[in-house]
């Protein structure tokens, strides 16, 4: 009960790395800084409670939720160290591993460590313009054509006798193949076949040349389609609109080269086809350029692909709360710790083990 007024603020940095790891130091966010040193002392307490979580979550509850989620994310309840068992029929013929492979096999890093390294690498690249100039955008969101994927940074930067910082960045990106031998190899290869690597790259870069033969579909589809033009939406979308392919020369999608037009016989006409109330409004189909850009876009990074809550919290439904004992709606709040329970019976069960102590 007595926690000496200490409230644990939820923290995300809980990784312990084998050896060492780069950790991004992004400084305090404006919101967190404001909570620590509020300009307006009157509202300080309220703002402190609000800064991390949903409005009615205190820092303690927030820390509890985060801890619970971390526990749910673990593979096992206890950290089990399971060694690899020896082979039944003696050891297998031990191959000599290459240096890269040996490094990978000996690495005890977890996914969290790798992610930290990657983030630190991104942060460093952002703060170091020299590096950023060499690698114009070191995330995997770089296009395959213009700039190398992060794994090429090592070779590129070391070849150019770059600064220590960029070397460290490369190390942070865990490009463990960054040994000199590799560079030597690629350099000699480059001398032997000066142009080949580039040619091969260009082969994969999806330059927009293959569709130049048919300029018609692009111009047609880039025409602004009148909004009320009824066009069939999709083969199975609606029968009424289907039938209109016969009467109208337009097809959906327009005769693009990427997605060919629907060319099978449309379904039979329906008496309701001309009814203005039944007409579907169809958004314009993307042009070939748009599709090409989408289909050749580089992958997002791990963090970018993670779905986030929308920024405007108004559009979201409120979070549902459940009884922590039986799982029914949490209609009653425990006075001591703020946990939700459904009714008196569950509240009594909860009280037996309701502890408010540091770190819980």
């Amino acid at each position: 009960m007595n926690n000496f007024g200490v409230v644990e603020v939820a923290s995300q940095k809980t990784k312990n790395a084998p050896g060492w790891a780069y950790v991004p130091d992004t400084g305090l966010t404006p919101a967190a800084a404001a909570a620590l040193q509020p300009l307006n002392r009157k509202r300080a307490a309220r703002d402190k409670a609000n800064v991390v979580g949903a409005p009615d979550l205190t820092a303690r509850q927030d820390a509890k939720i985060r801890k619970d989620l971390e526990a749910l994310d673990k593979d096992s309840h206890r950290d089990a160290q399971i060694p690899i068992p020896p082979r039944a029929g003696g050891t297998r013929a031990q191959n000599k591993h290459t240096p890269n492979v040996r490094k990978i096999l000996q690495s005890q890093k977890t996914f969290g460590n790798h992610l930290d390294d990657y983030q630190a690498f991104l942060a460093l690249a952002e703060s170091n313009p020299q590096l950023a100039a060499q690698v114009n955008k070191p995330t995997p969101t770089t296009t395959a054509r213009n700039s190398p994927a992060p794994s090429t940074i090592t070779t590129a930067s070391t070849n150019k006798r770059s600064s220590v910082a960029s070397k460290r960045a490369a190390a942070a990106a865990k490009e463990e193949k960054s040994g000199g031998s590799n560079n030597k190899r690629s350099r000699t290869q480059a001398q032997q076949h000066p142009k080949q690597a580039d040619d091969d790259d260009l082969e994969m870069t999806d330059a927009p040349e293959p569709t130049t033969a048919e300029p018609v579909p692009v111009s047609e589809s880039s025409e602004p389609r009148p909004d009320d033009t009824p066009a069939p939406l999709e083969p199975e979308l609606s029968e009424e609109t289907e039938a209109e392919t016969e009467s109208k020369p337009q097809s959906y999608p327009p005769d693009g080269t990427i997605l060919p037009a629907y060319n099978r016989p449309p379904p039979a006409a329906h008496p309701g086809d001309d009814d203005p109330l039944l007409v579907s409004r169809v958004p314009p189909f993307p042009t070939d350029e748009e599709l090409r850009a989408l289909m050749t876009a580089p992958p997002l990074s791990y963090l970018e692909a993670r779905a986030q809550w929308d920024e405007d919290e108004g559009g979201r439904y409120p979070v549902r709360r459940f009884c922590e004992v039986c799982g029914y709606w949490g209609r009653v709040k425990c006075i001591k710790c703020g946990a939700r329970v459904c009714a008196l019976e569950c509240l009594e069960t909860h009280r037996e083990e309701c502890l408010v102590r540091y770190g819980l």
């Binding site: 206890r78 890269n100 609606s238 989408l294 580089p298 009714a343």
Partner: protein, 446 residues
């Protein structure tokens, strides 16, 4: 490495293209593996647990040895795949060696004469991808190799037959699909056009089978027995009992015991929701059994009258757990549910693509096996899009192996030969070039 990493195996690396392909869907929970070649291909993959397990007698089994185990109580697992990506190569190599490359391996494969097609989860970290490529070529020395996003391979399946659309021709790859992969580590949404993923619209929700099993473990430990050391048993229970509720509020109401002293009729009778689950006792019974709820049984068992079996009565645990996919905020995860995930993904695309994608939603992955999942997903997605968009959600017959089947079709497709990288090319251009080639994907010319 200076002399070329694979010189020790160069005797076999001739210019002859490999005829057999090892197709490997390396999931976090299970590996799906099989061979594809011109004359003889596996119909179905072999499903191998991707873990090293230790039972309570401290006996250790690796991968498919787990099938011989009987007693799963207090079993602990070590998994080489974390968050869907291969992280611990020490363990992964051991499992691969035992399953594919040892002399007595059940699926013997000679890498220097084979092609490897390996699936990965989208948006991987570049360092992990490089590790993977290096191991494949430098350690195993596969003749050629392609590493691609797992969900994309599903486009090479006969998608329209999953929807039961009458059709004459089969498009391979399918023109337009929106693929939802809900697996052990996470759930991803991937729009795919002509076999190319639309990378800017791929979204991930960090709720998967593992989190759901752990959540069920927590619920049971609070309400019944401490099950925290029994992940295998709880997972079995989850697969047997959990269902996706179509009427969450109503089901929750029915399974509520009521206020003090109240005897609610639905609660007493079970209302079709309550089920009895008989736990394995590791003497006569090694797997749990689901029984219909009998009002008196658990009460009698509690009094110690019939104490031969441990019975859990599961009520709202049955539908609260899969509900996490639809409302992750229920346990405080600040991420949108699966239907909003679809919406966020589509918002990154031009509206003109929505109708096609929404009419062709395919769900794969083990979590989709929960009863009512597709129906719930369809109604939730319908609510979020204009009425005129037709929404169809379908699940392949076996959602767990469907990625492998797609990848097997891909191996026979000409796209595979365009995308693969040979060992020679790797040695010539290095790992970075390989990573770029795989990231660039198919391109557009076809």
């Amino acid at each position: 490495m200076a002399g070329g990493g694979g010189s020790r195996k160069s005797r076999a690396a001739g210019p002859v293209p490999p005829t057999t392909t090892l197709v490997l869907d390396n999931g976090a929970d299970t590996i799906k593996a099989g061979f594809v070649s011109d004359d003889k291909s596996d119909e179905k993959p072999r499903i191998i647990p991707n873990c090293i397990a230790r039972d309570r007698h401290r006996k250790i089994c690796v991968a498919s040895e787990l099938e011989k185990c009987k007693d799963f109580s207090e079993m602990a697992f070590r998994r080489p795949v974390e968050k869907g990506y291969i992280v611990n190569w020490e363990a992964q190599k051991e499992i691969w060696d035992r399953e594919f490359f040892d002399d007595k391996a059940p699926q013997k494969c000679n890498p220097s004469e084979a092609r490897l097609i390996l699936t990965e989860q989208p948006n991987s970290l570049p360092s992990l991808q490089t590790h993977c490529d290096q191991i494949v070529f430098e350690e195993y020395g596969f003749a050629s190799y392609y590493r691609g996003v797992g969900s994309v391979f599903n486009a090479y399946l006969d998608i329209q037959s999953i929807f039961r659309t009458p059709q004459t021709t089969i498009d391979s790859p399918a023109e337009v699909i929106l693929l939802i992969d809900t697996g052990y580590s996470h759930t991803t949404v991937t729009p795919i056009i002509q076999g190319r993923p639309l990378h800017p619209a791929i979204r991930r929700l960090d709720v998967g089978g593992k989190l759901m099993t752990n959540y069920l473990t927590r619920l049971l430990s609070v309400r019944h027995f401490d099950m925290r050391n029994e992940p295998y048993i709880v997972n079995e229970m989850k697969e047997a009992v959990c269902y996706t509720s179509l009427d969450f509020k109503g089901d929750l109401e029915k399974s509520w015991k009521g206020t003090r002293g109240e005897k609610r009729e639905d609660y007493v009778s079970g209302a079709g929701i309550a089920k009895d689950y008989v736990l394995p006792d590791s003497h006569t019974r090694f797997h749990g059994v689901v029984r219909d709820y009998e009002p008196g049984v658990s009460a009698r068992a509690r009094k110690g009258m019939v104490s031969t079996e441990d019975i859990l009565t599961l009520r709202n645990e049955r539908f609260v757990v899969p509900e996490l996919l639809f409302n992750p905020s229920d346990i405080g995860i600040r991420q949108p549910g699966i239907a909003d995930l679809v919406k966020q993904s589509l918002l990154a695309l031009p509206i003109g693509l929505w109708p096609g994608l929404l009419a062709n939603i395919v769900v794969v992955g083990g979590n989709s096996l929960s009863e009512g999942f597709c129906q719930r997903l369809q109604t939730e997605i319908l609510k979020r899009f204009p009425d005129e968009c037709r929404v169809r959600v379908a699940r392949p017959e076996d959602p767990i192996t469907s990625t492998w089947l797609g990848a097997a079709n891909f191996a026979k497709h000409e796209h595979a030969s365009r995308l693969q990288v040979t060992k020679q090319e790797y040695e010539e251009h290095g790992a970075a070039w390989v990573a770029r080639k795989f990231a660039a994907g198919l391109g557009l010319d076809s």
